[in-house]
Protein backbone atom coordinates (compact mmCIF):
# COMPACT_ATOMS: atom_id res chain seq x y z
CA UNK A 1 0.00 0.00 0.00
CA UNK A 2 2.83 2.41 0.76
CA UNK A 3 3.88 2.27 -2.89
CA UNK A 4 0.41 3.27 -4.02
CA UNK A 5 1.28 7.01 -4.20
CA UNK A 6 4.02 6.14 -6.71
CA UNK A 7 1.62 4.13 -8.86
CA UNK A 8 -1.04 6.80 -8.55
CA UNK A 9 1.52 9.46 -9.45
CA UNK A 10 2.46 7.55 -12.59
CA UNK A 11 -1.19 7.37 -13.61
CA UNK A 12 -1.71 11.06 -12.91
CA UNK A 13 1.32 12.05 -14.95
CA UNK A 14 -0.78 12.40 -18.11
CA UNK A 15 -4.35 12.64 -16.79
CA UNK A 16 -5.95 13.01 -20.22
CA UNK A 17 -4.24 9.90 -21.55
CA UNK A 18 -5.08 7.92 -18.43
CA UNK A 19 -8.71 9.04 -18.59
CA UNK A 20 -9.03 8.19 -22.27
CA UNK A 21 -7.47 4.77 -21.73
CA UNK A 22 -9.74 4.24 -18.73
CA UNK A 23 -12.71 5.25 -20.89
CA UNK A 24 -11.68 2.82 -23.65
CA UNK A 25 -11.25 -0.08 -21.24
CA UNK A 26 -14.49 0.80 -19.42
CA UNK A 27 -16.36 0.88 -22.74
CA UNK A 28 -14.96 -2.51 -23.72
CA UNK A 29 -15.92 -4.01 -20.37
CA UNK A 30 -19.33 -2.36 -20.54
CA UNK A 31 -19.80 -4.24 -23.81
CA UNK A 32 -18.36 -7.37 -22.22
CA UNK A 33 -20.75 -7.19 -19.26
CA UNK A 34 -23.77 -6.31 -21.37
CA UNK A 35 -23.22 -8.99 -24.01
CA UNK A 36 -22.42 -11.65 -21.45
CA UNK A 37 -25.55 -10.61 -19.55
CA UNK A 38 -27.63 -10.97 -22.70
CA UNK A 39 -25.96 -14.29 -23.44
CA UNK A 40 -26.78 -15.59 -20.01
CA UNK A 41 -30.27 -14.05 -20.22
CA UNK A 42 -30.97 -15.93 -23.43
CA UNK A 43 -29.65 -19.12 -21.89
CA UNK A 44 -31.93 -18.42 -18.95
CA UNK A 45 -34.94 -18.02 -21.26
CA UNK A 46 -34.13 -21.35 -22.88
CA UNK A 47 -33.67 -22.90 -19.46
CA UNK A 48 -36.96 -21.73 -18.00
CA UNK A 49 -39.04 -22.45 -21.07
CA UNK A 50 -40.91 -25.65 -20.78
CA UNK A 51 -41.43 -28.76 -22.84
CA UNK A 52 -44.51 -29.53 -20.77
CA UNK A 53 -46.77 -27.18 -22.67
CA UNK A 54 -47.26 -26.30 -26.31
CA UNK A 55 -47.80 -23.10 -28.21
CA UNK A 56 -50.15 -23.15 -31.17
CA UNK A 57 -49.78 -20.32 -33.71
CA UNK A 58 -50.84 -19.51 -37.21
CA UNK A 59 -48.77 -21.34 -39.80
CA UNK A 60 -49.10 -18.36 -42.17
CA UNK A 61 -47.72 -15.68 -39.90
CA UNK A 62 -46.78 -15.56 -36.25
CA UNK A 63 -48.84 -12.41 -35.81
CA UNK A 64 -51.98 -13.67 -37.55
CA UNK A 65 -54.78 -14.56 -35.16
CA UNK A 66 -56.48 -17.92 -35.08
CA UNK A 67 -60.20 -18.52 -34.56
CA UNK A 68 -61.21 -19.10 -30.95
CA UNK A 69 -63.10 -22.14 -32.19
CA UNK A 70 -59.75 -23.91 -32.57
CA UNK A 71 -59.61 -24.15 -28.76
CA UNK A 72 -62.29 -26.83 -28.44
CA UNK A 73 -60.78 -28.82 -31.29
CA UNK A 74 -57.32 -28.64 -29.74
CA UNK A 75 -58.75 -29.76 -26.42
CA UNK A 76 -60.19 -32.86 -28.11
CA UNK A 77 -56.73 -34.00 -29.30
CA UNK A 78 -55.59 -37.01 -27.22
CA UNK A 79 -52.98 -35.99 -24.66
CA UNK A 80 -54.16 -32.37 -24.38
CA UNK A 81 -55.23 -31.45 -20.86
CA UNK A 82 -56.03 -27.71 -21.12
CA UNK A 83 -56.14 -24.88 -23.64
CA UNK A 84 -55.79 -21.15 -22.95
CA UNK A 85 -56.32 -18.54 -25.67
CA UNK A 86 -54.24 -15.37 -25.73
CA UNK A 87 -55.59 -12.01 -26.78
CA UNK A 88 -53.31 -8.99 -26.77
CA UNK A 89 -54.35 -5.54 -25.70
CA UNK A 90 -51.64 -2.97 -26.29
CA UNK A 91 -52.11 0.29 -24.43
CA UNK A 92 -50.67 2.92 -22.19
CA UNK A 93 -50.98 3.52 -18.48
CA UNK A 94 -51.09 7.13 -17.30
CA UNK A 95 -49.82 8.52 -20.59
CA UNK A 96 -47.70 7.43 -23.51
CA UNK A 97 -44.55 7.15 -21.36
CA UNK A 98 -45.86 3.92 -19.85
CA UNK A 99 -46.69 1.46 -22.63
CA UNK A 100 -48.11 -1.82 -21.33
CA UNK A 101 -49.45 -5.03 -22.77
CA UNK A 102 -52.48 -6.79 -21.22
CA UNK A 103 -52.92 -10.45 -22.13
CA UNK A 104 -56.51 -11.71 -22.22
CA UNK A 105 -56.59 -15.40 -21.32
CA UNK A 106 -58.37 -18.11 -19.42
CA UNK A 107 -56.30 -17.84 -16.29
CA UNK A 108 -57.76 -20.98 -14.70
CA UNK A 109 -56.53 -22.96 -17.71
CA UNK A 110 -53.26 -21.02 -17.84
CA UNK A 111 -52.52 -21.85 -14.19
CA UNK A 112 -52.95 -25.55 -15.01
CA UNK A 113 -50.77 -25.30 -18.12
CA UNK A 114 -47.90 -23.19 -16.74
CA UNK A 115 -47.03 -24.73 -13.41
CA UNK A 116 -44.23 -22.15 -12.98
CA UNK A 117 -46.80 -19.35 -12.58
CA UNK A 118 -47.45 -19.12 -8.86
CA UNK A 119 -50.94 -17.76 -8.09
CA UNK A 120 -52.91 -18.40 -4.91
CA UNK A 121 -56.28 -20.18 -5.27
CA UNK A 122 -58.07 -17.24 -3.63
CA UNK A 123 -56.70 -14.92 -6.27
CA UNK A 124 -57.74 -17.30 -9.03
CA UNK A 125 -61.22 -17.35 -7.55
CA UNK A 126 -61.24 -13.56 -7.36
CA UNK A 127 -60.24 -13.46 -11.02
CA UNK A 128 -63.15 -15.74 -11.89
CA UNK A 129 -65.55 -13.46 -9.96
CA UNK A 130 -64.25 -10.17 -11.36
CA UNK A 131 -64.83 -9.74 -15.09
CA UNK A 132 -62.46 -6.77 -15.38
CA UNK A 133 -59.96 -8.27 -12.95
CA UNK A 134 -56.27 -8.58 -13.66
CA UNK A 135 -53.54 -10.65 -12.08
CA UNK A 136 -50.24 -8.80 -12.40
CA UNK A 137 -46.69 -10.01 -12.10
CA UNK A 138 -44.92 -8.87 -8.95
CA UNK A 139 -42.31 -7.01 -10.96
CA UNK A 140 -44.76 -4.96 -12.98
CA UNK A 141 -46.80 -4.35 -9.79
CA UNK A 142 -43.67 -3.01 -8.12
CA UNK A 143 -42.79 -0.93 -11.17
CA UNK A 144 -46.12 0.92 -11.17
CA UNK A 145 -46.83 0.67 -7.46
CA UNK A 146 -49.98 -1.42 -7.98
CA UNK A 147 -51.60 -3.41 -5.20
CA UNK A 148 -54.71 -5.55 -4.89
CA UNK A 149 -57.80 -3.33 -5.06
CA UNK A 150 -56.24 -0.72 -7.34
CA UNK A 151 -58.06 0.25 -10.50
CA UNK A 152 -55.83 0.53 -13.54
CA UNK A 153 -56.92 2.78 -16.39
CA UNK A 154 -55.50 1.62 -19.71
CA UNK A 155 -55.78 3.55 -22.95
CA UNK A 156 -55.94 0.96 -25.75
CA UNK A 157 -53.86 1.54 -28.85
CA UNK A 158 -54.65 -1.47 -31.02
CA UNK A 159 -58.39 -1.80 -30.65
CA UNK A 160 -61.58 0.16 -30.10
CA UNK A 161 -64.33 -0.87 -27.69
CA UNK A 162 -67.96 -1.29 -28.65
CA UNK A 163 -68.80 1.85 -26.64
CA UNK A 164 -66.65 3.82 -29.07
CA UNK A 165 -63.84 4.52 -26.64
CA UNK A 166 -60.42 3.01 -26.23
CA UNK A 167 -60.32 3.34 -22.45
CA UNK A 168 -60.29 0.28 -20.25
CA UNK A 169 -60.59 -0.09 -16.51
CA UNK A 170 -59.04 -3.11 -14.86
CA UNK A 171 -59.17 -4.03 -11.18
CA UNK A 172 -56.09 -5.65 -9.66
CA UNK A 173 -57.33 -8.80 -7.90
CA UNK A 174 -54.01 -10.47 -7.30
CA UNK A 175 -50.37 -10.89 -8.18
CA UNK A 176 -48.35 -13.82 -9.39
CA UNK A 177 -44.69 -14.61 -9.14
CA UNK A 178 -42.16 -16.99 -10.66
CA UNK A 179 -39.12 -18.79 -9.39
CA UNK A 180 -37.24 -15.84 -10.82
CA UNK A 181 -39.53 -13.06 -9.54
CA UNK A 182 -38.15 -10.23 -11.65
CA UNK A 183 -39.40 -12.08 -14.71
CA UNK A 184 -43.02 -11.94 -13.45
CA UNK A 185 -43.80 -9.11 -15.83
CA UNK A 186 -47.12 -10.02 -17.45
CA UNK A 187 -50.57 -8.61 -16.87
CA UNK A 188 -53.30 -11.25 -17.24
CA UNK A 189 -56.92 -10.22 -17.82
CA UNK A 190 -60.00 -12.32 -18.55
CA UNK A 191 -60.16 -13.23 -22.23
CA UNK A 192 -63.93 -12.93 -22.26
CA UNK A 193 -63.88 -9.38 -20.85
CA UNK A 194 -61.58 -8.12 -23.62
CA UNK A 195 -63.16 -10.25 -26.35
CA UNK A 196 -66.69 -9.03 -25.64
CA UNK A 197 -65.66 -5.37 -25.54
CA UNK A 198 -63.62 -5.15 -28.75
CA UNK A 199 -65.12 -4.16 -32.09
CA UNK A 200 -62.57 -5.95 -34.25
CA UNK A 201 -60.79 -9.27 -33.87
CA UNK A 202 -63.60 -10.80 -31.87
CA UNK A 203 -63.37 -14.52 -31.09
CA UNK A 204 -59.76 -14.67 -32.15
CA UNK A 205 -56.62 -15.71 -30.38
CA UNK A 206 -53.06 -14.80 -31.28
CA UNK A 207 -51.87 -18.10 -29.94
CA UNK A 208 -53.04 -20.92 -27.72
CA UNK A 209 -51.22 -22.26 -24.71
CA UNK A 210 -51.82 -26.00 -24.56
CA UNK A 211 -51.25 -28.26 -21.57
CA UNK A 212 -50.28 -31.85 -22.28
CA UNK A 213 -50.29 -34.97 -20.17
CA UNK A 214 -46.89 -36.31 -21.26
CA UNK A 215 -44.07 -33.90 -22.16
CA UNK A 216 -42.19 -36.79 -23.80
CA UNK A 217 -44.96 -36.91 -26.41
CA UNK A 218 -44.92 -33.17 -27.13
CA UNK A 219 -43.74 -33.65 -30.72
CA UNK A 220 -46.40 -36.26 -31.48
CA UNK A 221 -49.18 -34.19 -29.90
CA UNK A 222 -47.96 -31.08 -31.78
CA UNK A 223 -48.23 -33.04 -35.01
CA UNK A 224 -51.72 -34.25 -34.13
CA UNK A 225 -52.86 -30.66 -33.49
CA UNK A 226 -51.38 -29.38 -36.75
CA UNK A 227 -52.90 -32.33 -38.65
CA UNK A 228 -56.27 -31.47 -37.20
CA UNK A 229 -56.15 -28.08 -38.98
CA UNK A 230 -54.30 -29.22 -42.11
CA UNK A 231 -57.29 -28.57 -44.38
CA UNK A 232 -58.47 -25.50 -42.51
CA UNK A 233 -58.04 -21.95 -43.83
CA UNK A 234 -56.36 -21.28 -40.47
CA UNK A 235 -53.58 -23.81 -40.43
CA UNK A 236 -51.47 -24.03 -37.30
CA UNK A 237 -47.90 -24.64 -36.33
CA UNK A 238 -47.38 -26.17 -32.92
CA UNK A 239 -44.28 -26.69 -30.87
CA UNK A 240 -43.38 -26.92 -27.26
CA UNK A 241 -42.20 -23.63 -25.85
CA UNK A 242 -38.57 -24.68 -25.68
CA UNK A 243 -38.39 -25.93 -29.29
CA UNK A 244 -40.20 -22.84 -30.46
CA UNK A 245 -37.77 -20.53 -28.74
CA UNK A 246 -34.72 -22.46 -29.86
CA UNK A 247 -35.88 -22.47 -33.49
CA UNK A 248 -36.51 -18.72 -33.28
CA UNK A 249 -33.06 -18.13 -31.82
CA UNK A 250 -31.52 -20.40 -34.45
CA UNK A 251 -32.92 -18.12 -37.12
CA UNK A 252 -30.88 -15.28 -35.64
CA UNK A 253 -27.75 -17.40 -35.59
CA UNK A 254 -25.41 -18.76 -32.97
CA UNK A 255 -25.90 -15.91 -30.52
CA UNK A 256 -23.37 -17.20 -28.05
CA UNK A 257 -20.71 -17.42 -30.78
CA UNK A 258 -21.56 -13.94 -32.04
CA UNK A 259 -21.44 -12.44 -28.56
CA UNK A 260 -18.17 -14.12 -27.63
CA UNK A 261 -16.72 -13.21 -31.03
CA UNK A 262 -17.54 -9.53 -30.57
CA UNK A 263 -16.13 -9.53 -27.05
CA UNK A 264 -12.95 -11.31 -28.16
CA UNK A 265 -12.44 -8.83 -31.02
CA UNK A 266 -12.93 -5.87 -28.69
CA UNK A 267 -10.53 -7.28 -26.11
CA UNK A 268 -7.92 -8.04 -28.76
CA UNK A 269 -8.06 -4.45 -30.01
CA UNK A 270 -7.97 -3.17 -26.47
CA UNK A 271 -4.83 -5.17 -25.83
CA UNK A 272 -2.91 -3.12 -28.38
CA UNK A 273 -4.31 0.14 -27.06
CA UNK A 274 -3.40 -0.62 -23.46
CA UNK A 275 0.00 -2.03 -24.39
CA UNK A 276 0.80 1.09 -26.33
CA UNK A 277 -0.34 3.38 -23.52
CA UNK A 278 1.68 1.61 -20.83
CA UNK A 279 4.74 1.32 -23.10
CA UNK A 280 4.56 5.01 -23.97
CA UNK A 281 4.14 5.92 -20.33
CA UNK A 282 7.24 3.90 -19.38
CA UNK A 283 9.27 5.39 -22.24
CA UNK A 284 8.40 8.90 -21.06
CA UNK A 285 9.41 8.08 -17.49
CA UNK A 286 12.74 6.45 -18.26
CA UNK A 287 14.69 8.96 -16.19
CA UNK A 288 12.17 8.84 -13.33
CA UNK A 289 12.39 5.06 -13.17
CA UNK A 290 16.17 5.36 -13.22
CA UNK A 291 15.97 7.79 -10.29
CA UNK A 292 13.88 5.26 -8.35
CA UNK A 293 16.56 2.66 -8.98
CA UNK A 294 19.22 5.15 -7.92
CA UNK A 295 17.38 5.71 -4.65
CA UNK A 296 17.49 1.97 -3.93
CA UNK A 297 14.47 0.45 -5.65
CA UNK A 298 15.48 -2.93 -7.03
CA UNK A 299 14.91 -3.94 -10.65
CA UNK A 300 12.08 -6.20 -9.50
CA UNK A 301 10.45 -3.40 -7.47
CA UNK A 302 10.43 -1.08 -10.47
CA UNK A 303 9.04 -3.87 -12.64
CA UNK A 304 6.21 -4.44 -10.14
CA UNK A 305 5.43 -0.73 -9.98
CA UNK A 306 4.85 -0.71 -13.75
CA UNK A 307 2.79 -3.88 -13.58
CA UNK A 308 0.76 -2.50 -10.69
CA UNK A 309 0.07 0.58 -12.77
CA UNK A 310 -1.27 -1.58 -15.62
CA UNK A 311 -3.26 -3.72 -13.18
CA UNK A 312 -4.87 -0.78 -11.41
CA UNK A 313 -5.73 0.95 -14.66
CA UNK A 314 -7.26 -2.20 -16.14
CA UNK A 315 -9.09 -3.35 -13.00
CA UNK A 316 -10.56 0.02 -12.06
CA UNK A 317 -11.64 0.72 -15.65
CA UNK A 318 -13.10 -2.78 -16.02
CA UNK A 319 -14.99 -2.38 -12.75
CA UNK A 320 -16.47 0.90 -13.98
CA UNK A 321 -17.49 -0.73 -17.28
CA UNK A 322 -19.08 -3.81 -15.73
CA UNK A 323 -20.78 -1.72 -13.02
CA UNK A 324 -22.25 0.48 -15.72
CA UNK A 325 -23.42 -2.60 -17.62
CA UNK A 326 -25.08 -3.92 -14.47
CA UNK A 327 -27.11 -0.69 -14.25
CA UNK A 328 -27.89 -0.28 -17.94
CA UNK A 329 -28.69 -3.88 -18.95
CA UNK A 330 -31.76 -4.32 -16.69
CA UNK A 331 -32.98 -0.93 -17.82
CA UNK A 332 -32.79 -1.67 -21.56
CA UNK A 333 -34.20 -5.18 -21.23
CA UNK A 334 -37.28 -4.27 -19.25
CA UNK A 335 -39.46 -2.98 -22.09
CA UNK A 336 -43.16 -3.84 -22.35
CA UNK A 337 -42.73 -6.00 -25.48
CA UNK A 338 -40.33 -8.34 -23.69
CA UNK A 339 -42.40 -8.12 -20.51
CA UNK A 340 -45.48 -9.32 -22.43
CA UNK A 341 -43.44 -12.36 -23.48
CA UNK A 342 -42.69 -13.05 -19.85
CA UNK A 343 -39.10 -11.95 -20.27
CA UNK A 344 -37.94 -9.81 -17.40
CA UNK A 345 -34.98 -7.56 -16.96
CA UNK A 346 -31.66 -9.21 -17.76
CA UNK A 347 -28.82 -8.81 -15.31
CA UNK A 348 -25.09 -9.10 -15.46
CA UNK A 349 -24.70 -12.46 -13.73
CA UNK A 350 -22.36 -12.89 -10.76
CA UNK A 351 -19.76 -15.04 -12.58
CA UNK A 352 -19.34 -12.28 -15.19
CA UNK A 353 -17.90 -9.98 -12.49
CA UNK A 354 -15.29 -12.62 -11.67
CA UNK A 355 -14.65 -13.33 -15.35
CA UNK A 356 -14.35 -9.57 -15.98
CA UNK A 357 -11.75 -9.27 -13.22
CA UNK A 358 -9.81 -12.19 -14.68
CA UNK A 359 -9.94 -10.78 -18.21
CA UNK A 360 -8.85 -7.36 -16.89
CA UNK A 361 -5.93 -8.95 -15.05
CA UNK A 362 -4.96 -10.88 -18.15
CA UNK A 363 -5.19 -7.71 -20.21
CA UNK A 364 -3.02 -5.86 -17.69
CA UNK A 365 -0.44 -8.64 -17.58
CA UNK A 366 -0.19 -9.10 -21.34
CA UNK A 367 -0.02 -5.36 -21.97
CA UNK A 368 2.05 -4.55 -18.88
CA UNK A 369 4.71 -7.26 -18.91
CA UNK A 370 6.76 -5.98 -21.89
CA UNK A 371 7.10 -2.41 -20.55
CA UNK A 372 7.61 -3.79 -17.03
CA UNK A 373 10.49 -5.92 -18.29
CA UNK A 374 11.87 -2.90 -20.10
CA UNK A 375 11.73 -0.96 -16.81
CA UNK A 376 13.40 -3.88 -15.02
CA UNK A 377 16.26 -3.97 -17.51
CA UNK A 378 16.71 -0.22 -17.47
CA UNK A 379 20.38 0.68 -16.92
CA UNK A 380 20.64 3.57 -14.46
CA UNK A 381 23.74 5.17 -15.94
CA UNK A 382 22.46 4.97 -19.49
CA UNK A 383 19.01 6.26 -18.53
CA UNK A 384 20.30 9.17 -16.45
CA UNK A 385 22.72 10.24 -19.15
CA UNK A 386 19.80 10.38 -21.58
CA UNK A 387 21.36 7.85 -23.92
Amino acid sequence: MKYLPLVWAALRRKPARTLLTCFSIATAFFLFGTLQGINVGIAQITKITSVSHLIVMSRVNMGSPLPLAHASQILSVPGVTAVAPIDVLIGTFQGPKNPIVVLGTDLQAMAKISSDIMIGPAQLAAMARTRNGVIVGVTVAKQFGWKVGDRIPVHGLNTTKTDGTSDWQFDVVGTYTLQQPDWATRIFANYDFINEAVTTGKNQSFEFYVGISDPARSAAISQLIDDRFANSPDQTTTANEKDFLESTLAQIGNISFLVNGVVAAVMFTLLFLTSNTIAQSVRERTSELAVLKTLGFTDAAVQWLVLAEALILALVSAAIGVALASRVLPWVTSGPALAAQGIGAMHVPGPVYGAGALVAMLLALVSGVPPALRARRLNIVTALSGR
Binding site: P5, S287, G296, T298, A300, A301
Partner: protein, 231 residues
Protein backbone atom coordinates in the same frame (compact mmCIF):
# COMPACT_ATOMS: atom_id res chain seq x y z
CA UNK B 1 39.95 9.33 10.04
CA UNK B 2 38.86 6.06 8.43
CA UNK B 3 38.60 5.75 4.64
CA UNK B 4 34.94 5.60 3.71
CA UNK B 5 35.74 5.18 0.02
CA UNK B 6 38.60 3.09 -1.30
CA UNK B 7 39.34 2.37 -4.97
CA UNK B 8 42.18 0.09 -5.99
CA UNK B 9 43.32 -0.27 -9.61
CA UNK B 10 39.88 0.50 -10.92
CA UNK B 11 39.39 0.21 -14.66
CA UNK B 12 36.20 1.16 -16.41
CA UNK B 13 35.46 1.24 -20.09
CA UNK B 14 32.40 1.79 -22.25
CA UNK B 15 31.49 0.55 -25.66
CA UNK B 16 30.50 3.34 -28.03
CA UNK B 17 29.40 1.96 -31.35
CA UNK B 18 32.09 -0.57 -32.26
CA UNK B 19 34.72 1.14 -30.17
CA UNK B 20 35.67 0.25 -26.66
CA UNK B 21 36.76 3.35 -24.79
CA UNK B 22 38.60 3.04 -21.50
CA UNK B 23 37.37 5.86 -19.30
CA UNK B 24 39.21 5.14 -16.05
CA UNK B 25 42.73 3.76 -16.11
CA UNK B 26 43.85 1.78 -13.07
CA UNK B 27 42.58 4.42 -10.66
CA UNK B 28 43.44 4.46 -6.97
CA UNK B 29 41.65 6.72 -4.50
CA UNK B 30 40.79 6.99 -0.84
CA UNK B 31 38.24 9.35 0.63
CA UNK B 32 38.17 9.80 4.38
CA UNK B 33 35.00 10.00 6.39
CA UNK B 34 33.85 13.62 6.77
CA UNK B 35 35.66 14.90 3.71
CA UNK B 36 34.06 17.31 1.22
CA UNK B 37 35.70 16.16 -1.98
CA UNK B 38 35.47 18.15 -5.18
CA UNK B 39 36.05 16.39 -8.50
CA UNK B 40 37.05 18.65 -11.35
CA UNK B 41 38.27 18.12 -14.83
CA UNK B 42 37.39 18.61 -18.45
CA UNK B 43 34.46 16.85 -20.12
CA UNK B 44 35.24 13.19 -20.76
CA UNK B 45 37.87 13.05 -18.03
CA UNK B 46 35.89 10.38 -16.15
CA UNK B 47 34.48 12.43 -13.26
CA UNK B 48 30.89 11.22 -13.59
CA UNK B 49 32.02 7.66 -14.27
CA UNK B 50 34.04 7.74 -11.06
CA UNK B 51 31.05 9.19 -9.19
CA UNK B 52 28.78 6.47 -10.57
CA UNK B 53 31.19 3.78 -9.41
CA UNK B 54 31.49 5.26 -5.93
CA UNK B 55 27.71 5.68 -5.71
CA UNK B 56 27.12 2.05 -6.68
CA UNK B 57 25.34 2.91 -9.92
CA UNK B 58 27.85 1.06 -12.03
CA UNK B 59 30.49 -1.63 -11.63
CA UNK B 60 34.17 -1.53 -12.55
CA UNK B 61 35.62 -3.80 -15.22
CA UNK B 62 38.63 -4.41 -13.02
CA UNK B 63 39.82 -3.46 -9.55
CA UNK B 64 38.20 -3.16 -6.16
CA UNK B 65 35.80 -0.57 -4.83
CA UNK B 66 35.04 -0.51 -1.13
CA UNK B 67 32.55 2.06 0.13
CA UNK B 68 31.20 2.17 3.67
CA UNK B 69 32.88 -1.15 4.34
CA UNK B 70 31.25 -2.98 1.42
CA UNK B 71 33.02 -4.39 -1.65
CA UNK B 72 30.74 -2.95 -4.34
CA UNK B 73 32.36 -4.91 -7.15
CA UNK B 74 31.16 -8.11 -5.45
CA UNK B 75 27.52 -7.14 -4.92
CA UNK B 76 24.62 -8.39 -7.03
CA UNK B 77 22.15 -5.93 -8.57
CA UNK B 78 19.61 -6.20 -5.77
CA UNK B 79 22.32 -6.11 -3.07
CA UNK B 80 23.69 -2.99 -4.70
CA UNK B 81 20.23 -1.39 -4.71
CA UNK B 82 19.79 -2.14 -1.01
CA UNK B 83 23.27 -0.81 -0.32
CA UNK B 84 22.56 2.44 -2.20
CA UNK B 85 19.33 2.92 -0.26
CA UNK B 86 21.22 2.60 3.02
CA UNK B 87 24.50 4.37 2.32
CA UNK B 88 24.26 6.91 -0.51
CA UNK B 89 22.29 10.07 -1.09
CA UNK B 90 22.29 11.39 -4.66
CA UNK B 91 21.99 14.99 -5.81
CA UNK B 92 21.77 15.56 -9.56
CA UNK B 93 22.32 18.59 -11.74
CA UNK B 94 18.71 18.61 -12.93
CA UNK B 95 17.25 17.65 -9.52
CA UNK B 96 15.47 14.55 -10.91
CA UNK B 97 12.41 14.98 -8.71
CA UNK B 98 9.24 13.09 -9.59
CA UNK B 99 7.15 15.84 -11.20
CA UNK B 100 3.68 14.74 -10.05
CA UNK B 101 4.67 14.31 -6.41
CA UNK B 102 4.75 17.13 -3.89
CA UNK B 103 8.03 18.11 -2.25
CA UNK B 104 7.25 16.05 0.86
CA UNK B 105 6.24 13.02 -1.21
CA UNK B 106 9.48 13.30 -3.19
CA UNK B 107 11.50 13.42 0.00
CA UNK B 108 9.57 10.46 1.37
CA UNK B 109 10.37 8.15 -1.58
CA UNK B 110 13.61 6.64 -0.16
CA UNK B 111 11.82 5.96 3.14
CA UNK B 112 9.28 3.76 1.34
CA UNK B 113 12.05 1.18 1.22
CA UNK B 114 12.40 1.18 5.00
CA UNK B 115 10.16 -0.33 7.65
CA UNK B 116 9.25 3.04 9.12
CA UNK B 117 5.57 3.67 9.79
CA UNK B 118 3.71 6.36 7.91
CA UNK B 119 3.81 8.73 10.88
CA UNK B 120 7.53 8.15 11.38
CA UNK B 121 8.13 8.81 7.71
CA UNK B 122 6.12 12.00 7.96
CA UNK B 123 8.13 13.17 10.98
CA UNK B 124 11.43 12.47 9.23
CA UNK B 125 10.30 14.21 6.05
CA UNK B 126 9.27 17.30 8.03
CA UNK B 127 12.68 17.34 9.73
CA UNK B 128 14.53 17.02 6.41
CA UNK B 129 12.51 19.78 4.80
CA UNK B 130 13.10 21.99 7.84
CA UNK B 131 16.83 21.32 7.52
CA UNK B 132 16.86 22.61 3.95
CA UNK B 133 14.55 25.52 4.85
CA UNK B 134 11.53 24.38 2.87
CA UNK B 135 8.95 23.53 5.55
CA UNK B 136 6.55 26.02 4.04
CA UNK B 137 6.83 24.43 0.58
CA UNK B 138 6.11 20.85 1.59
CA UNK B 139 2.95 20.52 -0.43
CA UNK B 140 4.29 22.23 -3.54
CA UNK B 141 5.04 20.26 -6.66
CA UNK B 142 8.45 20.66 -8.33
CA UNK B 143 6.99 22.84 -11.08
CA UNK B 144 5.83 25.27 -8.39
CA UNK B 145 9.34 25.64 -6.98
CA UNK B 146 12.37 27.57 -8.20
CA UNK B 147 15.49 25.71 -9.35
CA UNK B 148 17.24 26.38 -6.04
CA UNK B 149 14.23 25.17 -4.09
CA UNK B 150 13.98 22.02 -6.22
CA UNK B 151 17.62 21.31 -5.55
CA UNK B 152 17.03 21.74 -1.83
CA UNK B 153 14.20 19.23 -2.04
CA UNK B 154 16.61 16.89 -3.83
CA UNK B 155 19.14 17.39 -1.01
CA UNK B 156 16.43 16.67 1.58
CA UNK B 157 15.60 13.48 -0.35
CA UNK B 158 19.28 12.56 -0.42
CA UNK B 159 19.58 13.09 3.34
CA UNK B 160 16.33 11.52 4.48
CA UNK B 161 17.73 8.01 4.98
CA UNK B 162 20.78 9.40 6.81
CA UNK B 163 23.30 8.06 4.26
CA UNK B 164 27.00 7.54 4.86
CA UNK B 165 27.87 9.48 1.74
CA UNK B 166 26.39 12.32 -0.34
CA UNK B 167 27.16 12.05 -4.04
CA UNK B 168 26.51 15.26 -5.97
CA UNK B 169 26.83 15.52 -9.75
CA UNK B 170 27.06 19.19 -10.74
CA UNK B 171 24.53 20.22 -8.05
CA UNK B 172 24.78 23.89 -8.98
CA UNK B 173 25.11 23.42 -12.73
CA UNK B 174 21.55 24.46 -13.46
CA UNK B 175 21.29 27.26 -10.89
CA UNK B 176 21.86 31.00 -10.87
CA UNK B 177 24.73 32.38 -8.81
CA UNK B 178 22.65 33.19 -5.74
CA UNK B 179 20.87 29.83 -5.63
CA UNK B 180 24.14 28.05 -6.26
CA UNK B 181 25.69 29.81 -3.25
CA UNK B 182 22.76 28.76 -1.07
CA UNK B 183 23.09 25.13 -2.12
CA UNK B 184 26.85 25.12 -1.59
CA UNK B 185 26.46 26.69 1.85
CA UNK B 186 23.88 24.05 2.68
CA UNK B 187 26.28 21.30 1.61
CA UNK B 188 29.01 22.90 3.68
CA UNK B 189 26.79 22.93 6.75
CA UNK B 190 25.92 19.27 6.19
CA UNK B 191 29.62 18.48 5.91
CA UNK B 192 30.83 20.56 8.82
CA UNK B 193 27.93 20.32 11.28
CA UNK B 194 26.63 16.83 10.52
CA UNK B 195 29.89 15.29 9.40
CA UNK B 196 28.52 14.07 6.09
CA UNK B 197 31.06 12.84 3.59
CA UNK B 198 30.37 14.62 0.33
CA UNK B 199 31.75 13.91 -3.12
CA UNK B 200 30.85 16.57 -5.64
CA UNK B 201 31.55 16.75 -9.35
CA UNK B 202 31.71 20.30 -10.64
CA UNK B 203 33.02 22.40 -13.50
CA UNK B 204 32.65 25.58 -11.53
CA UNK B 205 35.79 26.76 -9.68
CA UNK B 206 33.62 28.81 -7.30
CA UNK B 207 31.71 25.66 -6.34
CA UNK B 208 34.96 23.74 -6.06
CA UNK B 209 36.19 26.33 -3.59
CA UNK B 210 33.74 24.94 -1.03
CA UNK B 211 35.40 21.52 -1.06
CA UNK B 212 38.02 20.63 1.54
CA UNK B 213 39.84 18.43 -0.95
CA UNK B 214 39.99 18.87 -4.69
CA UNK B 215 40.83 16.18 -7.21
CA UNK B 216 41.62 17.13 -10.78
CA UNK B 217 40.97 14.39 -13.29
CA UNK B 218 42.32 14.20 -16.78
CA UNK B 219 41.88 11.41 -19.35
CA UNK B 220 40.75 8.87 -16.79
CA UNK B 221 43.47 9.46 -14.24
CA UNK B 222 43.87 11.61 -11.13
CA UNK B 223 46.01 14.50 -12.30
CA UNK B 224 46.21 16.51 -9.09
CA UNK B 225 45.08 16.13 -5.48
CA UNK B 226 44.78 19.30 -3.38
CA UNK B 227 43.80 19.43 0.23
CA UNK B 228 42.62 22.84 1.30
CA UNK B 229 40.77 24.68 4.01
CA UNK B 230 37.02 25.04 3.70
CA UNK B 231 35.49 28.15 2.12
Amino acid sequence: MAAVVSLQNVVKSYTRGRQRVEVLHSLNLEVQSGEFLGLMGPSGSGKTTLLNLIGGLDKPDEGQITVAGERLDKLSGSQMAAWRARHVGFVFQFYNLLPVLSAERNVEVPLLLTKLSRSQRKTNVAAALALVGLSDRASHKPTELSGGQQQRVAIARALIADPTLLVCDEPTGDLDRESAEEILQLLTILNQKQGKTIIMVTHDPRAAAYATRLLHMDKGTLARDETRSAA
